[in-house]
Amino acid sequence: EDKVVQSPLSLVVHEGDTVTLNCSYEVTNFRSLLWYKQEKKAPTFLFMLTSSGIEKKSGRLSSILDKKELFSILNITATQTGDSAVYLCTPEGYGNKLVFGAGTILRVKS
């Protein structure tokens, strides 16, 4: 059965701090891992990771995958209040159901 565990479950930081969010997974026939950000409404796509050790970067956000140890991290540097959201990860395998982790609730205080 597919498993996704995200940590921490919630996090409160001050503007300017750097945060690291974790996602560990077990999925049959792994193909990719995706990160999403959810603010008030629907989740929006951040990154798709398919290869170990290759960092994906978008502005202050970056993510990397370790297929040997079955985890991914999402880093946010110089956090801003607009980064406050729930961050979700989901591993994709061939034919799997696309199960999400419980998410990490990030709150950035000004």
């Binding site: 995200q6 193909r31 990719s32 995706l34 999403y36 409404k41 629907a42 989740p43 929006t44 796509f45 798709m48 398919t50 729930v86 979700l88 994709e92 061939y94 034919g95 159901k97 696309l98 199960v99 999400f100 982790g101 419980a102 998410g103 609730i105």
Partner: protein, 116 residues
């Protein structure tokens, strides 16, 4: 660019009533999903479909039914609504061709359902 359209946006049901949540996408995506999200929780998969005529259960299918008669539409049916079905429901779609990884999910804006 409509993307994924969900209707209604809000609905209040009495216990025992039934309703259908509508979901339509105009991106010719073959994969479609229904998730529910309870307050402060992650997304739980209810049902999904890999193409017209094919549906399968997710993590929490009890109390729900789906159909996929066309590529575009994936309605979710609630029979005999219960307070435990109070939640926000998201429909999503993605695309995969052959053995390639699926595209990222495109989500609808959600339906907030309250059962009292």
């Amino acid at each position: 660019n409509a993307g994924v359209t969900q209707t209604p946006k809000f609905r209040i049901l009495k216990i025992g009533q039934s309703m259908t949540l509508q979901c339509a996408q105009d991106m010719n995506h073959n994969y479609m999903y229904w998730y529910r999200q309870d307050p402060g929780m992650g997304l739980k998969l209810i049902y999904y479909s890999v193409g017209a005529g094919i549906t399968d259960k997710g993590e929490v299918p009890n109390g729900y039914n789906v159909s996929r008669s066309t590529t575009e539409d994936f309605p979710l049916r609630l029979e005999l609504a219960a307070p435990s079905q109070t939640s926000v429901y998201f429909c999503a779609s993605s695309y995969s061709s052959g053995g390639a990884a699926r595209s990222p999910l495109h989500f609808g804006n959600g339906t907030r359902l309250t059962v009292t």
